[in-house]
Symmetry: C2
Subunit: 353 residues, 2 copies
């Protein structure tokens, strides 16, 4: 398989961790006989420095000519004083919008050796393995009217049936590659948009008779993520509920710094990036944890290229290296062998080969 | 002090647990020289059976003639087939609206002997002591337009400055009786209503220089409730965020069945009720846990009557009984002495006297 991959290293530790992920992708290509072509492009502060804006046309052109993109992280104190349309974070928002990336995919999977860092009891957090599928381009954050006077303010939550259908279909398709269960989260006892959401889920589920569906109110979901996180497989929900629940879910296993994410659309193109930030304080020291970037690359293999075997091999290799006790300094603990960013990637590649 | 208290036992275990709370209030009156006059009124399924609707005019009249109301719980399988305007839960929604109870107060306090039941590690959950102050009568659940067609749906999030001011003031006043810290939760990086909310908080805080204020985004708050719940004192937020966060917070200490709540307005009138439901399966067996109802009565003493010493005495008495190992069956465990609803109330009263 020949695939063109855009690499946007970004700022801070972005370049180091994406490089680790690129090395792992090269190893996958070697082992499984694929050809991955990498083209680098600037985004965020890096793009501001080079082109004067966080998302240059050159970067858009490179992405348009590629099958998927890997992104490191954006932002840092250097650009904190920029006006909001020239902030590094703007690059991320703009590129998702430009490419209509309406599906945000956030997996949360417990790493056995890290359960000690979870705020949850180990018996609650162990074996957690869920994916939150969040609608990313509509809902309360975008609806009009959206205005404010000194006396009052209004935001508008709008969803069209088509917008709900396409995200729900994505969730059903992801569930089919996993445990086959979808939890649709809404507030259908109060919100009209949620009633439409639930109606669409009921309708679309007939096309996926192999997938089990449950409806859950958002406040109940916020509780269950803590009391019984293992009960979830795929959660699908609208933009704002997904924002809150995916951040809540990100801390339950104690491996926040190691979580990957994806923003995709229907044709397979997607941007893959760590949930963590650019960590400018440790940038350039070859000690950042590349796990989230490597797992983001694994998501690319799975969701953009349909290479499920390869994706699983990368995930297993990472898990193997961690179980062998290798780790970067951020998750060091008793009995661990602390290694560099590059050495961690090398271990993963060795495990892969 | 002479106070008129409406008692609405409601359904299921409601009558038993409110009776326990009334007994405790009688003991408080004896010990501290107050006169509490109790008048009973019907709500929920109980009112449907007696009056044909969940909130009869007679109950409204009794509440109007009283200083505060204690409520048990509503609902049960008997009324599950009713149309939505005749459901027991409707009584709760209607009475809050009728009396313009815009402040929902939900304390979450760790009980040392129950930390074992918390999904969080004991070192994370111990000493948690927070109050969530939620705006209850405006926001996305009520704003217009609110409509749905087969092709799309809309809900509207509206807040006026006046609505925000009054709830924020309540939170500041509550913080003054506690650790003096307010965390205002919003999504001011995206929502216009949140920008207005933050503006009002910044403005009102000048009237409370003794209170420390922090702003937090709702997704960050959803994480921090799990990773560092002890860092919160008073959280104030709008209706929907409060709905999600208060339910999330309710499970972190493992004492969900024992949490009280209040719905109040500015003049002191309020309705006090357990967070738990009517538990029809164990109704009438004198084994329900009356802790939430008793702590709701303590909230009434504090928030409606300004009787802080008396409220603290009740809270300490409940804590004392629990620490002595007495409990109802729902929280039984090794080394506990399981007693009945009535016996638990009697122990609290003995501890009080
Ligand atoms: Mg977020
Ligand atoms: Mg709720």
């Amino acid at each position: 398989m020949v695939k063109r991959i855009t690499v946007m290293p970004g700022d801070g530790i972005g370049p180091e961790v994406t490089e680790a992920a690129v090395e792992v992708l090269r190893a996958v290509a070697r082992r499984y006989g694929h050809a991955f072509q990498f083209t680098y492009a600037a985004i965020g502060g890096d793009a501001i420095d080079q082109y004067g804006k966080p998302l240059p046309d050159e970067t858009i052109a490179v992405c348009e000519a590629s099958d998927a993109a890997l992104l490191g992280a954006v932002g840092g104190p250097k650009w904190d004083q920029q006006p909001s349309h020239l902030r590094p974070e703007r690059g991320l928002l703009d590129i998702r919008k430009k490419f209509d990336l309406f599906t945000n995919i956030r997996p949360v999977k417990a790493v056995p050796s890290l359960l000690g860092s979870s705020p949850l009891k180990e018996e609650v957090a162990r074996e957690v393995d869920m994916v939150i599928v969040r609608e990313l381009t509509s809902g309360l954050y975008f609806g009009e009217p959206k205005q404010r006077s000194p006396k009052s303010a209004v935001d508008t939550l709008v969803y069209t049936r088509a917008e709900i259908e396409r995200i729900v279909d994505q969730a059903f398709q992801i569930a089919r590659t996993r445990k086959g269960k979808v939890t649709s989260v809404d507030k259908a006892n109060v919100l009209e948009t949620s009633k439409l959401w639930r109606e669409v889920v009921e309708e679309r589920m007939t096309a996926y008779p192999d997938v089990e569906v449950e409806h859950m109110l958002v406040d109940t979901a916020a509780m269950k993520l803590i009391t019984n996180p293992r009960s979830f497989d795929v959660i699908v929900t609208e933009n704002m509920f997904g924002d809150i629940l995916s951040d809540e879910a990100s801390v339950i296993t104690g491996s926040l710094g190691m979580l990957p994410s994806a923003s995709t659309r229907t044709d397979g193109f997607g941007i893959y990036e760590p949930v963590h930030g650019s960590a400018p304080d440790i940038a350039g020291q070859n000690k950042a944890n590349p796990t989230a970037a490597i797992l983001s690359a694994a998501m690319m293999l799975k969701y953009s290229f349909g290479l499920h075997t390869e994706a699983a091999a990368v995930e297993e290799a990472v898990a193997g290296v961690l179980e062998d006790g290798y780790c970067t300094g951020d998750i060091a603990g008793e009995g661990k062998r602390v290694i560099s960013t590059g050495a961690f990637a090398a271990q993963v590649i060795e495990e892969l080969e």
